[in-house]
Symmetry: C2
Subunit: 141 residues, 2 copies
């Protein structure tokens, strides 16, 4: 079902401050930035590795307001890992399988993700406290 670790999502107070740190520490390049109003974040994608099943990224997430999920996470826990995302070839099939298995989906149908991808979050409670995202990349990504 899973084709790769697509990204690790890290909540930060400031993209401007954190992007250069990750670039310098690990010689990563920031290859994409966008704002996702629905998720309430500004995102920066730093490419770790471009593999045979797609890219793996560090995703830095800056909340656009305090009353967003990432804003509340930052207020409660401070900066740190917010979620983990796995690549899938067919997100509809994956969500159907998880539903049959009794897993609690945050998004019962896919929503808009980074770079035109289709994504869905799975509730952390059934997965050892880990907020988990599935990503079906857009064609050409």
């Amino acid at each position: 079902m899973l084709t790769r670790i697509d990204h690790v999502g890290i909540a930060v107070a400031s993209l401007t401050e954190t992007i250069p740190i990750y670039e310098q520490a690990f010689n990563l390049k920031c290859v994409h930035q966008e704002t996702n109003e629905r998720q309430g974040v500004r995102e920066a994608m730093l490419l770790v590795h471009s593999g045979d099943t797609g890219g793996s990224y560090v995703q830095l997430l800056e909340p656009i307001r305090d009353d967003t999920p990432v804003g509340k996470f930052l207020a409660k826990r401070g900066p740190g890992i917010h979620h983990i995302a796995y690549g899938v070839d067919d997100i509809d099939a994956a969500l159907a399988s998880l539903t049959v298995g009794g897993f609690d989906l945050v998004n019962k149908t896919p929503v808009h993700g980074t770079s035109g991808s289709r994504i869905a979050f799975i509730h952390p409670k059934g997965l050892g406290g880990v907020l988990t995202e599935l990503v079906e990349a857009a064609a050409g990504h």
Copy 2:
């Protein structure tokens, strides 16, 4: 410097309870288990993807005692993502580069990791609150 996302390390109360959940949810297979006395954990590695630069895994971590780092993490935060680990070809060169960059290393020289790998942790404070591990896989892994 980084060759892949090697694994995401997830702190759990019980491997016995959590391994089947991840196997069922994502059709993963638990390919390795070991106890690392130095790190104070029992580990289970579930293979996400075997790529051109090595494997990517979900690593489940059960503390062997309450007074271990993962035991304290569980007591404070409950189960969840504990750290992120990146693959490197040359961990000595990576640590030298990070030292020059002023990053705070938990392990100034590599220590024993999963499956005979050489690993080192980098302090979360300089990396957006993320406890970060570098992994140089053993030959043949």
